[in-house]
């Protein structure tokens, strides 16, 4: 670290920190959907990463179509692509729930295996449709470039955008869970499925909506992902382990926990990555998470009440 002045070091820390924030954003979007599905329904959805990929490819297709047929709309297409990614990933989620997941609710291990198989199938479908080569959506101009508050600090605009999107979506999900009727039904079903049915909640319907919502959010994560990386058939599966880690570390059923844990994991990882190799950074992150989970098996935030 010789030859770096204090102010330069500060800038590096800033920029690495901001990098961490971009990773945090995608991780959080991914984990939000997963936390809803895993926390609320207890289904370990190994194919969750593929829903991110669906969102990313949806964005790519939107970008391609816009560029070919309506080049004048290039500056705004991305906003429609986000909505499209949500809807399309949600619809696929609906189909998957109806065909597969609902038959496996009481069999967690079987659902884990089935969704893993599903993820392989989906990856192959992506490969056959879009080819094994990675593709990138053409970003509108306003997402290019960077913001330079000082000479040494360089913050990319796409990172800022992803962060903004994440904040908005997290707030929306929070509002939905804690202020809407369906959100209340979801929380009740999580706590006691049988009793939720006995107070008049259609739990099968709630499960379906939960799954669709979780997949839709993963789709939005995919749209956000296209702004910071290129999309390949396995793009989503790279995130699945980190996303699960986030959910478990944060404490299932707690949105705040998911937020805090995504932040911790992404920041630790990306700050450490600057000072050592990527894999060492990962090792240290993982070891600390394991140590913390041994002390707090329920995760960072767990709600305490009389049992």
């Amino acid at each position: 670290m010789e030859g770096i002045s204090i102010s330069e070091f500060g800038s590096i820390l800033m920029m690495q920190g901001f990098n961490g924030l971009s990773v945090f954003s995608v991780l959080l979007l991914m984990a939000l959907g997963l936390a809803i599905i895993f926390g609320q329904m207890g289904v370990i959805n190994m194919a969750h990463g593929e829903f991110l990929t669906i969102g990313a490819y949806t964005t790519f297709v939107f970008s391609y179509l816009t560029q070919t047929y309506f080049p004048s709309l290039m500056s705004t297409y991305f906003l429609f692509a986000i909505v499209g990614a949500f809807i399309f990933a949600g619809l696929v989620g609906l189909l998957v729930e109806w065909l597969l997941i609902r038959h496996l609710y009481k069999r967690p291990l079987d659902s884990l295996l089935a969704t893993w198989g599903l993820s392989l199938i989906m990856q192959q479908i992506f490969r056959s449709t879009f080819g094994a080569k990675e593709v990138s959506a053409t970003l509108p101009d306003w997402l290019m470039g960077s913001w330079q508050p000082t000479d040494t600090i360089d913050i990319p605009l796409n990172g800022l955008f992803v962060m903004g999107l994440t904040i908005v979506l997290t707030c929306l999900v929070g509002l939905f869970m804690y202020r809407s009727r369906l959100g209340l039904k979801m929380r009740a079903t999580t706590q006691n499925r049988v009793m939720a049915g006995a107070v008049g909640i259609n739990t099968a319907m709630v499960d379906r909506m939960t799954f669709v919502l979780g997949c839709g959010i993963a789709g939005v994560a995919g749209a956000a992902f296209t702004t910071i990386g290129s999309t390949g058939p396995t793009s989503g599966s790279l995130y699945i382990v980190d996303a699960f880690l986030t959910v478990v570390f944060g404490g299932a059923q707690s949105l705040l926990g998911t937020l805090a844990s995504a932040f911790t994991i992404a920041q630790t990882n990306s700050t450490l990555e600057f000072f050592m190799t990527g894999s060492m950074a990962k090792v240290i992150t993982l070891l600390s998470i394991i140590a913390i989970l041994m002390m707090r098996p329920e995760g960072l935030f767990s709600i305490k009440v009389r049992k």
């Binding site: 009727r181 209340l184 039904k185 929380r187 009740a188 706590q191 006691n192 049988v194 009793m195 939720a196 049915g197 006995a198 107070v199 008049g200 909640i201 259609n202 739990t203 099968a204 059923q253 709600i303 009440v305 009389r306 049992k307």
Partner: protein, 229 residues
């Protein structure tokens, strides 16, 4: 009004309820008495649809056959259930707990609920899991009441609740009946409580109804013998 006939329930191969028949009249409070393990809870769970009943059974509310419907549809047709052990949602606030039973869109809880259970209003922002047993019991009843039931099923409401609160509970149940004009089916081991509220008593033993009496003709000795271990 509420008619159950030929109701049999089994866990796997072993049948626990053997063809029970009974009916509940309009505005009646019916107590189902019996010791532990005689099938009271199993009976209640099959009435609300948590446990399936064997083919040939019939559970009729007015003219609607409920025996094949899932729980939430039975609730929509006018059945409500307060389970043994309350089973409130522990991490939801008291208000949210009650709202889970509401079917209106706006989520306002009828004032009469808080008139019946003033303590729930005082505790409305607490988590359900942090309430005492008696308060949780009131919460479970409130949650069932906002579904506007025609028949309210209560499974051992006095279990684990102190005697002074049990008296309150009896008063509240009678008030509810008067206010809402509904029928109540309650399973019970505490004889004094049952005699206080019920119009009619059934005795369940080993999955069969072995005795039936109006409260006026209730024979304390005979009932006591059924309930003693």
């Amino acid at each position: 009004m509420f008619n159950v006939s030929n109701l049999s329930v089994s866990y796997g191969q072993s049948e626990v309820i053997h063809g029970i028949d009974f009916s509940v009249r309009d505005n009646e409070i019916l107590a189902i008495m019996g010791r532990n393990g005689m099938g009271k809870t199993t009976l209640f769970k099959s009435l609300i649809g948590i446990l399936p009943c064997k083919p040939g059974a019939s559970i009729k509310l007015h003219d609607t056959e409920l025996s094949q419907l899932p729980s939430h549809k039975r609730v929509a047709h006018g059945l409500a259930f307060v389970p043994q052990g309350r089973m409130i949602f522990p991490t939801l606030s008291v208000l949210d707990n009650i709202r889970t039973g509401l079917r209106t869109r706006d989520g306002t809880i009828p004032e009469e609920i808080f008139a019946l259970f003033p303590v729930l209003f005082d505790m409305r922002h607490r988590k359900g899991g942090n309430l005492s047993g008696g308060q949780q019991q009131q919460l479970a009843i409130a949650r069932a009441l906002v579904t506007n039931p025609k028949v309210l099923l209560l499974d051992e409401p006095t279990e684990g609740i102190q005697p002074s609160i049990i008296k309150d509970l009896a008063r509240v149940l009678k008030e509810i009946r008067k206010m809402r004009n509904l029928a109540i089916v309650v399973s019970e081991q505490v004889l004094s409580f049952a005699l206080d509220i019920a119009d009619r008593l059934l005795v369940v033993e080993k999955g069969r109804i072995v005795d039936e009496m109006e409260r006026e003709q209730a024979d304390m000795h005979k009932l006591g013998a059924y309930l003693s271990v």
